[in-house]
Symmetry: C2
Subunit: 192 residues, 2 copies
């Protein structure tokens, strides 16, 4: 029985590719085994469970996304940084829909704390350094940016904006403009 040379690394990487091709929720231990032309049980030496596989793919995606963001932010500040940061998410989701979906997988707290998720949070705060926000407004803004980016990307990917003018690239640009304007002029709390 020829050995194929499986490893956790290769499985996770192939799982990520599979996710991009057929969707993250179609990533299955069986499908992966088929892809390597190997029996299903063989994967269980390298991966604890289906859940484990998915978690590892999610962690890979978070790393890749954080790496891209770090590169994009280097040498940029203010609106320039904001736009670059925003584009990283959108472009990644368009290029790697399955991985992006994986990155949304709910992780248990310890796993999340050890993931690249914390780099994302730090980088979002770095982007906001170009604006004049102090706590707790900075945290509010972090959450707003996360919401807009994730919400937009997920609606766009889900086809929520299809079949309607104007095109989504224009909207994306104008939303980034709007966020920049908002952050430069962050309103005080309204009267309670």
């Amino acid at each position: 029985m020829a050995r194929v040379g499986l490893s956790t690394e290769r499985l996770v990487r192939a799982g990520a590719e599979l996710a991009d091709e057929v969707g993250f929720d179609q990533v299955t231990v069986s499908a992966l085994a088929r892809r390597f032309d190997v029996k299903v049980a063989s994967l269980y030496s390298h991966v604890r469970s289906s859940q484990d596989l998915k978690t590892r793919i999610a962690l890979l995606a978070l790393e890749e996304l954080a790496d891209r963001a770090a590169t994009a932010l280097a040498g940029r500040a203010g609106k320039d940084a904001l736009a670059a940061f925003a584009d990283v998410y959108r472009d990644y989701a368009r290029e790697h829909p399955g991985r992006y979906a994986a990155a949304q997988l709910r992780l248990d707290p310890e796993t999340a704390a050890a993931s690249a998720g914390v780099r994302h949070a730090r980088m979002t705060r770095a982007v906001l350094r170009g604006y004049d926000l102090t706590e707790p407004d900075q945290t509010h803004a972090v959450r707003l940016l996360g919401s807009v980016f994730h919400g937009y990307v997920s609606l766009e990917m889900g086809g929520g904006f299809s079949h309607s003018a104007p095109d989504t690239q224009q909207t994306w640009t104008r939303i980034v403009d709007a966020l920049d304007a908002l952050l430069r002029n962050w309103p005080a709390p309204s009267a309670p």
Copy 2:
């Protein structure tokens, strides 16, 4: 064999409850059959497939959400309407997480066109009537609101904001404040 009185209606309603209890992705024909103490195959007279069941639950959720939004918007305008509209989404997601997740199910275009999704779009435009936006900016704003609401709710539900101060209610309020300010002062396109 006593007849339980199944019907598509009852199945979908029970499926929605099940979704809220155990999560939308745990909603399964088998689980539903157990809940009615009936054999699995019996459900297939009332529901075409597992996918069909999920789609019907999604449509139910969209209807409920649209009904709530319509009620909330009645007699309100401007920021008042914006805040009420926003709260409808967040509150619904908190009360009915499974149904809310169902509402995000990707529908095929014809189904989507016949769903309550179009009411949502209309109502979002109604909210924006309180602000001075003309096309195509109104469409950009519709998409922004959709992104923020969906993104925030989905991150909050996924635990993305947990374990960190300040509490999420404050952030939510301030985000609505910020959106109101932004819509009252929508920026012109930045220089290309």
